[in-house]
Homo-oligomer: 343 residues x 4
Amino acid sequence: MINKRGFASDNNSGVHPEILKAISEVNTAHTIGYGDDKYTRQAIEKIKEFFGDNIDVYFVFIGTAANVLGLTSITKSYHSIICAETSHIHQDECGAPEKFSGCKVLTVPTTNGKLTIEGIKHHMYGFNFEHHSQPKVISITQTTELGTVYTPDEINKITDYAHDNGLLVHMDGARISNAVANLGVTYRKITTDTGIDVLSFGGTKNGMMYGEAVIFFNKELSTDFKYIRKQGMQLASKMRFIAAQFNRYLTGDLWLKNASHANNMAKLLAMEVEKIPKIKITQKVESNGVFAIVPKEYIPVLQKEFFFYVWDEGTSEVRWMTSFDTTEEDVRLFVNLLRKIVR
Amino acid sequence: MINKRGFASDNNSGVHPEILKAISEVNTAHTIGYGDDKYTRQAIEKIKEFFGDNIDVYFVFIGTAANVLGLTSITKSYHSIICAETSHIHQDECGAPEKFSGCKVLTVPTTNGKLTIEGIKHHMYGFNFEHHSQPKVISITQTTELGTVYTPDEINKITDYAHDNGLLVHMDGARISNAVANLGVTYRKITTDTGIDVLSFGGTKNGMMYGEAVIFFNKELSTDFKYIRKQGMQLASKMRFIAAQFNRYLTGDLWLKNASHANNMAKLLAMEVEKIPKIKITQKVESNGVFAIVPKEYIPVLQKEFFFYVWDEGTSEVRWMTSFDTTEEDVRLFVNLLRKIVR
Amino acid sequence: MINKRGFASDNNSGVHPEILKAISEVNTAHTIGYGDDKYTRQAIEKIKEFFGDNIDVYFVFIGTAANVLGLTSITKSYHSIICAETSHIHQDECGAPEKFSGCKVLTVPTTNGKLTIEGIKHHMYGFNFEHHSQPKVISITQTTELGTVYTPDEINKITDYAHDNGLLVHMDGARISNAVANLGVTYRKITTDTGIDVLSFGGTKNGMMYGEAVIFFNKELSTDFKYIRKQGMQLASKMRFIAAQFNRYLTGDLWLKNASHANNMAKLLAMEVEKIPKIKITQKVESNGVFAIVPKEYIPVLQKEFFFYVWDEGTSEVRWMTSFDTTEEDVRLFVNLLRKIVR
Amino acid sequence: MINKRGFASDNNSGVHPEILKAISEVNTAHTIGYGDDKYTRQAIEKIKEFFGDNIDVYFVFIGTAANVLGLTSITKSYHSIICAETSHIHQDECGAPEKFSGCKVLTVPTTNGKLTIEGIKHHMYGFNFEHHSQPKVISITQTTELGTVYTPDEINKITDYAHDNGLLVHMDGARISNAVANLGVTYRKITTDTGIDVLSFGGTKNGMMYGEAVIFFNKELSTDFKYIRKQGMQLASKMRFIAAQFNRYLTGDLWLKNASHANNMAKLLAMEVEKIPKIKITQKVESNGVFAIVPKEYIPVLQKEFFFYVWDEGTSEVRWMTSFDTTEEDVRLFVNLLRKIVR
């Protein structure tokens, strides 16, 4: 039987009880819809405490939408967007960026999910040449899809390079809190302070129910975002229930506790797995994901009790994700099973 | 001071306590994301109890998305969509249907929000002529944006006409439950049995938090909807929380109780208002909306205590919406105030 | 047998011999493609002689493209475009404006194809309200699809109203030369001097083979048009052959001679037809089109010898178009036949 | 001074005199517009002589449009299109495929511009997984952008692989005649007989003025192409002038003579250049393009007299294109100059 908490994805977990409570607490009386309410204003103020005052914040339903609408707001259809080949916007959004923005998405192969200037340069040509999609945005993911984390310095290098060349930088922050927890810095340190232009600020993978924020660090870029959001089918009528979640998420360090816990569980898992012969961890464990090569025949046996995904059929690489609610017991049971199978 | 429950919109209300409880009850353990879970399957089964077995059901976040993605799935970009001039898809979706489907939206002026064959015929030409957008869908709203309700017979006339001419019929059912409550029939009677092809089945305006279902009555029309939904940025990761709402909504007649109550409050409001001189009710009160012409100078005075919207500045027509949580006391207070102002 | 010159459309005619000769004359040696050549520069200079120096000019293949790309360059997808219900962009472009620009197209019913401020006002609401497509462009057709012509004063009223309200004005000038010939003014008088923002400047209906110019009267609006044109699939490689046509078209008043002749033939036709009982001319004959109500039974008999289109099946209204190569003999033969049929 | 015939591009040449004559010959009387005329029917029949009867043929203005509209007609927006990294649809269409079709374009690095099954396989995953754009089309270019030519056998391998996996194959045939001339086969041998599904059949780079044909080898794929073409802004009103060109192009082997001549001039150029030290030819010369590495300092000196493009700034690789009108004298003068510079 499948274990009630597996390692498939951090969005297979439910909602943190405090978040649910916060939702419940705003369920009183009537409130103007579509974001013109006090809860939404509070949530925006709360976000400003962490990212600085000089930002614009808009809530949408999900990460794909935050990415696509954020990217659309800073591009025209003849632009191109440069990202890692592993990035969510390229692999996991069913072409939504192309469909909605009209832009070309250009990919860079990486070993660890992190873009480098050298990789980006491969696509930096054809400027002013109308036959060629004009490079306009570099999109990075923090935490990357491979569980690795950009240092502030690495981000700075990319934003400097981008801005020096007339490009903008988008950050897909579906798991940004795990990165912040890992780096031991503030949100601001890896966003506002590094010159990121637009951020998809996610919480659903870290204990929220739904809702994502698009944060603009340059207000000139967001002048028509309210129309883009509406036309992009992402304007919630009962906005207060998204706002309440962000309010609570950013209060009392809930975001940090959840992210740190998930990270710690991943580290524990990796530490234990490393001791097992025949299993090879393939990526640095810097957040809540562990990537490992597991002999093919073991995988279905493991999956019978703990659900998780094969990342790469070819190399027999798997991905194990921990979550805010993963327990040490979950890890122990899983490792024991793996140990048993290997023996 | 603004009264805590106004008459601005049925989405200014909160969430019915039973719906909130249902959300809370599925917040246990891990569940596969993106809809491949037992709660989603249950919700789909529940919907089939009401609409028949031979349907396909997909959940999205909001009504605009249900409309736009439902319409996209049954059109190609060179098609046109015929709707009432007052329809949500034309007036209130910021061009999302055009942007996402590429289709032309053709409008028909109406006095009561209801399309008639005669009105539709105005756009029925240019078939097979490649210069002209090809008419493909008739979209009706049940309950209409003016609070009126199509009878089953009126719908039948439209679906027959559509199908006889090679068109399909979409129903925007953001307030379908209010129509069903008013008609005293079943959902099926005005959808499945009338030959509707695609329905946007809404609950947010009737006590839910978020989430809408797109229902296909002809499964051939939904073969690629899963991709359209994902590319349309409407695939929820923690789907169980939408599913739980629909499960509860359709259990123990909660949907019907909420809708009937809102309708009754509108009728009460209309009945009382009709007695007041100088106020003229402009549309039949068949659901939870009351439309009335109110002398211009009264409006801001009323709005100081009860929030509501002016529908037409030119004619000084206002819209008062009741909700599942509107009380007789709310109506009484409002009517008293209006009476006082008029005097 | 069908007569070799009918009254179906001014694009059923061939190419004026002088235009063909001009094409032939630039067919020498190699020339850089895509518009960076001396012939294209000459054509642009020639156009500036007529429309003023402070313009930007881009060539595309056809009128639909000139309209769609011109409109796209001055809108964002959440905008709406207001036009007459009879306009080409609404009736005859198969939804290309919606598909490519993402905008909503709003129509105004007219009796003579000409927009009025009053008609436009019907759509002027919802500003700043994100649920509603934002009105941004008024598009007028000169000559209209009904053969009527806006006076400079009528255009001025529309451009003033537009600019006062933050909108821009696009002119579909597929038959602008016929209007200029009719008014006895200059191109400039009804475009540059009236504050038109973007013009589709056509010649194909007046003796050219293919090619249309998009003219921007405000250079800030055209900064990225070169990319829009390329992404819009309208950048000609052998551009010199479009340029050569415009060069010749605008030399020695060829444009004016052709347009005046076509207009005169329409006037002659109308004058003669008016004398025939049972035939009723329905629009002022101000260009090269004659609209008339003809008893239904006569139409197929006429069409056997002269090809033309029925404009409105319901009212039995037909459209007869004259062309630069229509002869008095053509008109005489046609009128004789009609007279014979009526008798 | 720039030589009147350079080696910049085969579209810098003019129009073959016979093509121009053919255009002139159809310039008589009135003809129904938009393709419903005898010249267009003749041209389609002519094309069927070469490609087989069981095809559908539509004319558009340019190669970019032929590619984009052909691809759009065989995809839905959630599909992906696999092509060589050097392909025109990826490098040189300013994102038109993404903008118009909504699809994702996936690239494969190649050394010679030719896709291989192995390269294609890199993108063949995620089927049925709604998060991922669904691979649907393999697009190959014949002749490739690097002047190389697929053998019939190489194409067969790709079409078989595609069809076995539920994909379709598009061929960008902007220079297909050069490939046919090089292979010494028929058009049919590398298209109809290999199972190509859609072909962009070009002539502008081989002596025509404008116009391209989209050929469907499976008529089920073209059922709505007439609307796609119109909405794609590619329906020519005076279609006869495109048709006349194709009629002449395919008569008396003009297409083959032109292509063979251009190929021969490229071979001659390559043969002579190979003898010059320091110049290194980088691709097989199988059509009318010669790619060579030329020391950086020589390039501007050469360009002063003969215009051509640098293909890769990094490696100092240049592209020299010959044309139907390139003469042996042109080649001789160019080679002499190069020889002089090198010495």
